[in-house]
Symmetry: C2
Subunit: 351 residues, 2 copies
Amino acid sequence: MQRALTIRDIAQIAQVSASTVSRSLNDSPLVAEETKSRVREIAKQGNFSFNATARSLVTRRTGIVGLICPDSFDEYQYSLHLTLLINQIRRRLELDELDLIVKFRYNATGTNSIQNLLNSRKVDALIVINPDITAEELSFIHEHRIPVVFVQAISPHLELENENYVFADHVAGGTIATNHLIRLGHTRIVCFTVDTPEASFHERTDGYRHALRDHDIEIDEELIRVGDGTFEFGYNFVVEHAHRFRGDISAIFSQTDIMALGAIEGLWDSGLRVPQDVAIVSYDDIGFGKDFRPRLSTVHQPRDRLAVAACNRLSRLLSMGERGDRREEDDRLLQQRVQPYLVVRESCGAD
Amino acid sequence: MQRALTIRDIAQIAQVSASTVSRSLNDSPLVAEETKSRVREIAKQGNFSFNATARSLVTRRTGIVGLICPDSFDEYQYSLHLTLLINQIRRRLELDELDLIVKFRYNATGTNSIQNLLNSRKVDALIVINPDITAEELSFIHEHRIPVVFVQAISPHLELENENYVFADHVAGGTIATNHLIRLGHTRIVCFTVDTPEASFHERTDGYRHALRDHDIEIDEELIRVGDGTFEFGYNFVVEHAHRFRGDISAIFSQTDIMALGAIEGLWDSGLRVPQDVAIVSYDDIGFGKDFRPRLSTVHQPRDRLAVAACNRLSRLLSMGERGDRREEDDRLLQQRVQPYLVVRESCGAD
DNA sequence: CGATTGGATACAAACGTTTGCAACATTCGC
DNA sequence: GCGAATGTTGCAAACGTTTGTATCCAATCG
């Protein structure tokens, strides 16, 4: 295989024109069945396949979508959730024969990943995860008239009204978790949240507040503790406040699984048992959670649904672009919210 | 921006030919400095950037490398190590302005990922992780004359003599871990390995054997336990054999961190403490390990070095392809082995 | 001062497809 | 049996670059 076969080579062998070969292999109705099958046969024999680059040049479609992900992807507490999410997206994209280029928000050469990707026209569409994006970049994207879907958390920086946005309902997640604990009889529930520009954690806290308010339980602001999402934080807090877990506080709503694992470890070291002495519900459902004893009761992040919804949205946009129309009903679907659900295991004390 | 600017547009504005624009923007020595800067200025004003597709068509370079990864990437016990490895590779590739398309070994449409990728000529080179690859696929790759480097574990299916191969020395890793335990005075050391076609686990076991032999310690085959890499396995084994950890067995070499975490949990539930009663050294260094109490002493998988070595290798192959030469010295570097190292924390009882 | 060099630029042919349009053959309706 | 419709094919122009070769002009040399 010195030089790969081209449609012209096939054309010569089949004694037809290159256009007929192209049409045959693309199953155009313009060519006779008999010719089609003859051409196909020859192509198959010669192990022919299209040169994607040449094709892209004229169709203006590369068959690649770009995904921008936060640099925090490198840090392990985010890796699991994001990895799983991205893998789901990749799998879903396979169905449409689309490949995925993943880029970090900020790259090693100091140039802007988003601009690079769009300028080079390497991708047909963009998925932006946890969109920590400037207004400037947003308008840059729109100038390029390239389909874009934002996924996962709502960015407070972003005017989402006219954007395609698929996100999880973190308020509902916070409510579900807290309600569950309340139903089990807990009223003094400490809430571990995370200090980050991302809105998702604030929303989980809102959910916590809603649940308490709905049950006429006093909201003690002192019980809302802002951490950093790490094991250490959970561990340190419970060790430091161990005395309060004997009588005062009876449950924890931890907004990350990792902090919950830390808390469990810390409580243990303080002579307290989960769930017997303290009930815990956490958030994310990162897979490790079901291994440790006690197994974590946790709010499942609907990664699969996020992925599916985002990709469906994207497919739609891509095919809309092809036909150039834009129907009314689509506009109503611009924002799509997916619901998390509670996975009850052991740490809440109710199986 | 109805239609993106082309070099012809720039040419017209600058009153030069398209080729001069191309050469100017590519900093060719064939064009006068003055013209160059004039053209550059105009390009900058107009926010011009090359159409990567058109460029690829003639240069036969896409600036994209493909990475084939095992489907087990989906399962969480592999995710962490692989995610980190792939992210490192991605970061390293940024330096060469190369983008990365990651594909699963088997894709949803049932077609062969490797063949797809190569046939379409979408990528300039291939990285194959944990190469569970058939001879047929291997020869397919070579027919395409595309640079390929295999990473991580050695595949028993693969004749690696003529392949570019970057792998970790798992024998050394097994030896290091076991030696450390021996040095701490342990002689009855149980070894958790994993049943998989991948050779890396067998190699770790070989390392374990070497270490014992070197110290004239009898190898008790019964102490080598074949598991599945999960938390459950570690947990169940120690619980079931708890009595033996009081007097007989005094240490564990676990070939995955996860199994070690399971064992720690199980020992605890059996009233045994790590490292006081049982010392543990594990393998992988997955990041979680440093959070849990006791913190894991573990053999660090040299992901960073694997990534760097693989990418360097790839860069080299790519630039060799450009110049078409192949020097002798390169052949000697075909296989590259990187060394793991021990991270001593708490679980081994020696800080 | 004519021939020669060399630097700067332009021309045109690739790269491998897709696709609008024209061309041709065949069939149909009347 | 003739014009129109229909079905099949080929021609050629795109798509936006790169790059080998030709051209032009000024400067240099003998």
